[in-house]
Symmetry: C2
Subunit: 107 residues, 2 copies
Amino acid sequence: MYYKHHIFFCLNQRDNGETCCAQFQAQQAFDRCKAQVKAQGLSGAGQVRVNKAGCLDRCAAGPVAVVYPEGVWYSYVDLQDIDEIVESHLKNGEVVERLLTPPHLGR
Amino acid sequence: MYYKHHIFFCLNQRDNGETCCAQFQAQQAFDRCKAQVKAQGLSGAGQVRVNKAGCLDRCAAGPVAVVYPEGVWYSYVDLQDIDEIVESHLKNGEVVERLLTPPHLGR
């Protein structure tokens, strides 16, 4: 596995007025995650990659991010949630149960 | 696993003149993959998602795409390669060995 944890943030922006992750500070969340991962020395091959992504098609649960290869989906609310995902999951490998995306929520 | 196969294409564009995937028809490859997956009825929850992504940080091997949860990386050349990835990997679960990204190639 090239990256131990590869997290993708939906940063999709829509022009048609439909709700999307970008309206819920997804960019700020991505920036925070990237900065925290870097600050903790976790970034790079064999470690963690924080990635921009287009629509992940689970808009009803947004804003969302997904961590692979484990396939864990998060619905976060604020930047403290991001810090917790970094510390618990990306650093220590422990899923943050309270932020898990409800399985039935899709587009 | 929300998606059986979740493929991310690096569509990164750089302003500073550095080489990046977008210079090698990454957008066309993404479009082709998305269209083929849809045409074959493979798209959606429980099946396949074709996703845009920012820089995947393996520029030296670009243009690249990564398939999760299996963590298989591809360096493709043309649209026929994309068709083969769709048919072989995304449809039938068989990795396209000849297109695998060399493990040592990173940024």
